[in-house]
Amino acid sequence: MNESEFHFEGEAEILSETQAHVPTDRGVIFMDTTMTIDNESFNNINDFLTKLYGK
């Protein structure tokens, strides 16, 4: 496995409108809407997580 490769494990915990804890095989990672996915920006964490989990 590549060092920068993470595997999701379990449901994300939403902390606020823009922040969440995402469980992975390398620990629980703090993510927020300052992050982009495939250069796509998000206004709220729900949209971010939907894209992240590919739902």
Binding site: T18, G27, V28, I29, F30, M31, M35
Partner: protein, 230 residues
């Protein structure tokens, strides 16, 4: 008074002492003029600007009552060593925010070291729950940080919390109290959280707070002391 050349004086044949008196007389038209100097004055003049003989406990301090005089080494206890003592900010607002952070420079941690964190949390106002968490990241930012643990949630009139954690480094991972369990300390059993750690990289220990409502809830990390045990 008989006249004797200085070169013809009889040697004392003993070390100069403070009570010695050296007297020289010079012939003058009126007779003789005498001048003298004591042994103490000669010794003081000769030692001017020089370090006095060191006397333990008198003009050189001791370390834990051990004299520093002589050759050899004195082992100074350096375990644990404190590498940070910081005071975080009390923050309002409902987002998870950084109150304090501590840099662990590359090379600081080696296998079998233990990081010991102690500090306390306080807030001065508010009635809803505030949550303290701490993370690790290669930058001083929460974004992308890995959760190491959470303190007890502080609600209603809970304005103070003592916080402690021990984190063992096995050479590959940080081994700590279950990060999903909110607790003030790790003096009990729990699951283990393994967090990958590369000792050749700079890391930040990040201490964050989140309030469930905005002002006046104002949680903050205070006097965080981070130590390493060899």
């Amino acid at each position: 008074m008989s006249k004797i050349k200085i070169s013809e004086l009889i040697p004392k044949d003993a070390p100069l002492s403070t009570t010695d008196l050296l007297m020289i007389s010079q012939e003058t038209p009126d007779g003789f003029e005498s001048k003298s100097i004591t042994g103490a004055e000669i010794i003081e003049s000769a030692q001017e600007g020089l370090q006095r003989t060191l006397v333990s406990g008198e003009n050189i301090k001791t370390v834990n009552s051990t004299s520093l005089l002589g050759s050899g080494n004195i082992n100074v206890q350096a375990n644990p060593r404190t590498f940070a003592s910081v005071n975080g900010s009390n923050l309002t607002g409902t987002s998870n925010q950084i109150s304090a952070s501590v840099l662990i420079s590359s090379g600081t941690l080696v296998a079998n070291n233990t990081i010991y964190i102690k500090g306390f949390l306080n807030k001065t106002a508010g009635t809803t729950t505030s949550t303290p968490r701490f993370y690790i990241n290669t930058t001083n930012s929460l974004t992308g940080a890995t959760l190491l643990g959470a303190g007890q949630g502080m609600g209603t009139s809970v304005f103070f919390q003592r916080f402690e954690r021990n984190i063992f480094f096995d050479g590959t991972n940080l081994n700590g109290f279950n990060s999903a369990t909110s607790a003030a300390n790790d003096y009990t059993s729990s699951g283990i959280t393994l967090t990958p750690f590369n000792p050749a990289t700079n890391y930040y220990l990040i201490f964050a707070v989140q309030n469930s409502t905005t002002t006046p809830d104002n949680l903050g990390w205070k006097r965080l002391i981070v130590q390493i045990y060899d």
